[in-house]
Amino acid sequence: MPKVTTLAASGNQMVGEAFRQAEPDVIAAYPITPQTAIVESYAKFVADGRVHTEFVTVESEHSSMSACIGASAAGARVATATSSQGLAYMWEVLHIAAGMRLPIVMANANRAIAAPINIHCDHSDVMGARDTGWVIFFAETAQEAYDNTVISFRVAEHPDVLLPVMTTLDGFITTHAMERCELLDDETVKAFIGEYKPKHSLLDLENPVGHGMFANLGGAYMQAKLAERRALDNAAPIIKSLGDEWAAICGRSFDMIDCWGMEDAEYAIVILGSAAGNARHVARELRAQGVKAGVVRVRVFRPFPYAELAEALSGVKAVAVLDRSDSFGAQAAPLALEVYTALFDAPVRPAIRNYVYGLGGADVTLEILHQVYDDLDKLAAGEANPGLVYLGIQ
């Protein structure tokens, strides 16, 4: 049986603990609010000699991801953390990490992107990276940020995946708020994560390798991209089975989506991250009044769980997709685009409305979530769909 320590901790602290237990050979990172506490806590582990990690204090995020790529190509277990402008600054090398099939684990504290500059939570940073080939997890709580981070190393380093994994948690709301958390003992977690055995290390000079070659014409580029797509597809069943394995150890379930009240829901909210708690609270209040409300929280954004979502939403009359970012110029915001895709082949499609909420840390109050369910009632009754709505502002 694992030894469990119950503690009051922030999401950043819990990610730091998961990193410590995974004990990467290299961490290269750069400070940015609200992620910084992760690397600060790690710097202390290094200073106290609790880990063997080579801690590389780079001069920018472009260099942190670049150094992670070099280290991972050299066969090291590698992790980093960033947020917002930092993630955007890495954009070029995010693609390269995935294209070179390097199992780097990165925590992202989800934060708005300038301009205007804003340090609070939304998902614009992650959505800017959604097509870079990374596996992407969204945590709701500090506990889940820990669980996701632990699992991330296994997913990334799985021989049928070998892709970088972004384990994300909402800026301030999850990174900074103290919650009741359970920390498993090091031995159990280390045994779960296991040892990383790289296949193509630069440092194995008996078997020299070339990483990042020039595949200009002749189809090799497209072959590599197809292999990348398949690897990300492969990740889905692997995430599920690792989730089951982890659940058997810690007792917390881990699925691609997390459903509340969906067995018989007529009105559903689909959402990512920390605001799901408020959505469930409102759904519970509505249930008390006889309204069949439900909530689907998407935990894995890449690979996206289309089939799971379609199944969860079958039988629902109306769906509100709540997006904490926008895709300017598109008819819907990023999560809604996925939901539309998931439901396109459904025999009966529910009415769907897309809301953009909480940008730059704007409050997600119970009132505005009640407003959403009220709208769904009208939508199901055939009232015209006004298209995408920005929630809580005029």
């Binding site: 001069e59 630069l202 020299p208």
Partner: protein, 312 residues
Amino acid sequence: MATIKELAATPDRLCSGHRLCGGCGASIAVRQVLMGAGDSDVVVTSATGCLEVSTTCYPYSSWSTSFVHNAFANAAATCSGVEAAYKGLKAAGKIPADKEIKFVAFGGDGGTYDIGLQSLSGAMERGHNMVYVCYDNGAYMNTGIQRSSATPKGAWATTSEVGEVLQGKTQKRKDLVSIIAAHGIPYAAQASVGNWKDLVAKAEKAFNVDGPAFLDVLAPCPRGWRIEGDQTVEIARLATNTKFWPLFEVENGKWSMTPVKEKDLLPVSEFLKAQGRFKHLFKPGNEALLEEIQADVDAYYEYLVRRCAETV
């Protein structure tokens, strides 16, 4: 330093059959630098540029040792990550404590003086045990000869054109070796493919110091300099003998220069005249510009003489 016989016996880490142009200075620079590593194991990092695209055409590779290319701006950061992995894996007991590996990064002048300068500065400041080598051909050659901050004053390039009002690049070359030396690293030097003995000796020193080392190696590009492929070494020598490219080093803060022999000394115009990229400078009306270039060259040489004298 190793004898020429010993050097000839060092492993061919960059093999023939690559697709650099005939006479390209980049491959000469790389091969001579790698001779400085002797028989040691070496992991090579390269920035995007002519060297990278011409030696790694998938499914082929001209590298017989491990090689990594990441992007244009980040060769130094990438190499620093490889070196950090080596340390981290040693600390984890996954690499034997006595296993020695050398780390070297190559970048063109664009990838070093310009877009990669921050990454390079960071890696040098952090003190990684690595050698960074700029193969300096004074322009973005791979994308078609655009000016960089290493392009000499007066040179034609496709983004420093020659026309009715402009006569090539208006600014001087950035003094990168001084900038890197100012990081206080154990070794920084300027060398040239025109003087193999000096270059290999400097590379040996660079590989043997404990900590970061930097080499800026003049590596003429026949295509961009508008010279013939068999003139590469000759013109690189002219660069040094006209004081355009002094050979110097900064070893633990001590500056020293290989002086040009009095009998070899020539005016800078001899270096310029030999290349198509400077031909407009010899048209009537550009006399003052030529004088200005000579004055710049003399001033930089005097600056180096001063630094050498100051740090005896």
